[in-house]
Symmetry: C2
Subunit: 441 residues, 2 copies
């Protein structure tokens, strides 16, 4: 088999066989197929596409390019959750305790990755003593005992995807549905989940710019799962602004804790209830979404969800008193108000730009080795739909290094899309896709 022939075939619009896909993925992972042939194939796939079978086989081939985690010694259906993008996305911190409190085991491995703001692991590490570097047997033991554990990836999950993603990123071959779907699904499948709930973000900052395209991507990922006998539900959700008000590690933990205690932001709670309900459904707790929502609502009202978070923090060596009193979490030295320079209504808040503003003051990593300042971040005061007068406080910057304030402020002002017309109300969730098909709300 020759890589040339595989490129030629796809270029001419033909289907690739399982053997050809495996030859490409194995060869590229090992380095026997050079980058320049891989990028030519990726561009050919961009133009000619891949069908459902090819996409499922590409996914599986990437799963098998590295370590796969065996979670079979955990009792019950293990449900994972993934979001396709997310500045200010603290859903895992809220969702995981709620779902575990409802009786579905949550064994979640998160990548650390680069990002404007910290990932889930970084957020958890803003809790004093919290450890994310559990060994696999320890991780499994925790899930069996208290139904919940969130830790870093062990082993080299889907290295083919890692290598291909880096190549796609510099060759303008990221935005193809089959490639995006197989990339996301390969990592989830390699980490051992039985069932997966996907949060597919839509909007200008997301992979998919339009709602229709987001449904197409969601369907592609659900089909991959169905093809491989995994129960997958995807929700298509708004990304017209950051979720909740907090952006930054310690601030986001505070907001998550508030939500679990019953006084969090409405949009965050709503999304967590919906995604969580889907997790209960694919996790076999109930087949009825309405019942699932009620079960999850009760975990907040009766305090079992916040207790579950504390169980996890304790089991992973964190300081539980910071959950009881979030003021004990790392706090920035200064809190600076950012005020509006124009008047009108907020039509959107560019989440990427807010992320860059938070990165400037130290909330995220510039490079893999950069340290994170857990205490800093941004608290949005005005959100989409709010009316603004000149001088109103748009946001509060929690900052240590005042030299960075000006750049952060500029980006924040830039992030706000303010104009005079009254904005239409947009849905937070546009619909869902499951194995039965597409359901638009």
């Amino acid at each position: 088999m020759r890589m040339y022939d595989i490129i030629f075939k796809k270029r001419n619009g033909e289907e690739l066989t399982k053997e050809e896909i495996d030859f490409f993925i194995q060869g590229y992972t090992k380095g026997t197929i050079p980058d320049y042939q891989a990028s030519a194939l990726l561009m050919a796939i961009y133009f000619q596409g891949m069908n459902k079978r090819e996409t499922a086989e590409l996914t599986l081939s990437m799963v098998h390019s590295g370590t796969t985690i065996d979670l079979s010694s955990i009792k019950g259906i293990k449900v994972d959750k993934h979001s396709t993008g997310g500045v200010g996305d603290k859903t895992t911190l809220v969702l995981a305790p709620m779902v575990a409190a409802a009786g579905v085991p949550v064994a979640k491995m998160s990548g650390r990755g680069l990002g404007h703001t910290g990932g889930t692991l970084d957020k958890l590490e803003s809790i004093e003593g919290f450890r994310v570097d559990l060994q696999l047997d320890h991780f499994i033991k925790n899930v069996n005992e208290i139904k919940i554990a969130v830790c870093g990836q062990t082993g080299d999950l889907a290295p083919a995807d890692k290598k291909l993603y880096a190549l796609r990123d510099v060759t303008a071959t990221v935005d193809n549905v089959s490639l995006i779907a197989s990339s996301i699904m390969s990592k989830k499948l390699a980490s051992g989940a039985d069932a997966i709930v996907l949060d597919v973000k839509t909007g200008s900052g997301a992979f998919m710019k339009t709602i229709d395209d987001s449904f197409v991507l969601a369907k592609e990922m659900v089909d991959i799962g169905t093809n491989l006998n995994k129960n997958v539900i995807a929700m298509i959700t708004e990304m017209n602004e950051p979720l909740g008000y907090a952006v930054g590690n310690s601030l986001e933990v505070q907001e998550a804790v508030a939500t679990l205690k019953g006084h969090g932001p409405e949009d965050l709670l709503h999304l967590c209830i919906e995604l969580g309900a889907a997790m209960l459904v694919v996790g076999g707790r109930t087949s009825n979404m309405e019942e699932a929502r009620e079960i999850l609502g009760r975990t907040i009202k009766d305090g079992t969800a916040i207790e579950k978070l504390k169980d996890m923090v304790k089991a992973q060596y964190g300081n539980c008193s910071q959950i009881d009193d979030p003021d004990l979490l790392p706090q920035a030295k200064h809190i600076v108000d950012i005020t509006a320079e124009t008047e009108g209504y907020v039509h959107g808040i560019d989440a990427e730009e807010v992320g860059r503003a938070a990165l400037v003051i130290g909330a995220g990593r510039e490079t893999k080795e950069s340290p994170i300042d857990y205490s800093v971040g941004i608290l949005l005061i005005k959100k989409v739909g709010d009316k603004i007068s000149k001088g109103d406080i748009l946001a509060k910057v929690h900052i240590n290094d005042m030299l960075k304030l000006e750049e952060c402020t500029e980006k924040l002002i830039e992030a706000y899309d303010i104009s005079m017309e009254i904005p239409d109300k947009r849905l937070l969730i546009f619909g869902k896709v499951d194995k039965e098909g597409i359901h638009k709300y």
Copy 2:
């Protein structure tokens, strides 16, 4: 400027600017743009194409990626000729003396390249003492004195094309009209020609498989020339079998000499007259093709063409007695008849396969360093249209190493397409393209 944006733009079907094309070609030549980005762009070009302006600018950018030859000290319009493929293609050996004898200067630089059979330079080197490594001033002096010189390339002509061609060859991005056209034209323009005649081969072994596609390629190259103020004529010619009977260096020189003496194969003479007439037209000798054909015919009848070949051989230190008596050229030890195993009519002779048969016995180079055996080759006896009975001699193999006979024979038998139906007569020349447009015969 970033290469990513250039790929992205072309992928989305947009036109590239001159600056973007130059950035790509200069960066790729210098090595600051990696292969994997170049191959992604090439595949995007394969799908989205380039317009006339982009193609002309790509060509010019490749011309300027290396040395350009200045032939301005040669008096008159310097006409070059290029063929897009050619096992058994000894047209240069026939054409160049005819055109020079008709008064148009022929300053031809040939690449040596890899190939199944030797190139023009190798054919000339089968003449004892013949030197192709002339310095530029010597080359120019010869053309000014005797109107003709054929030598190897001096300097690094269009290195961008060389590097890109090697990449296209392994990434299934060869067969795009703009890329083929700019590749050919960049080399010709870098070697200093004022006007160019192109022989665009059509058929299964050629770049262009159909006559229509060949006209498209021809038009593209003529348009590049027109865009850059160079007079270009392209002839679209048959490649259903090797040209003439001889394949192999010394055998091809013998056939060329025979043709110049007035007793060569009809197809070879016909093609040389047509291409040569086009050279006289772009060279300004006459504007009338019919008159040009007559002028060229006379150079054979009156012996001026063969005298011109001898002038060149003498001026380049070759042994002229081998032209007077071609039996003095290197001769193989054995001549073996290859006989037909089936009966019917010859419908085609796969020129590539005949080339591979000749390569096996030493007529070409396996690697750049391989020596060539000038004496060996294949003399076709039966050609397209001929009726075959079992046992008829199809071809004669001129061979030194009898251990290679079996493999050579197998390939030769394989090359012959013989079936019972009477083949249609096909034209040798399907038409021409010049700055006025397409003329189908």
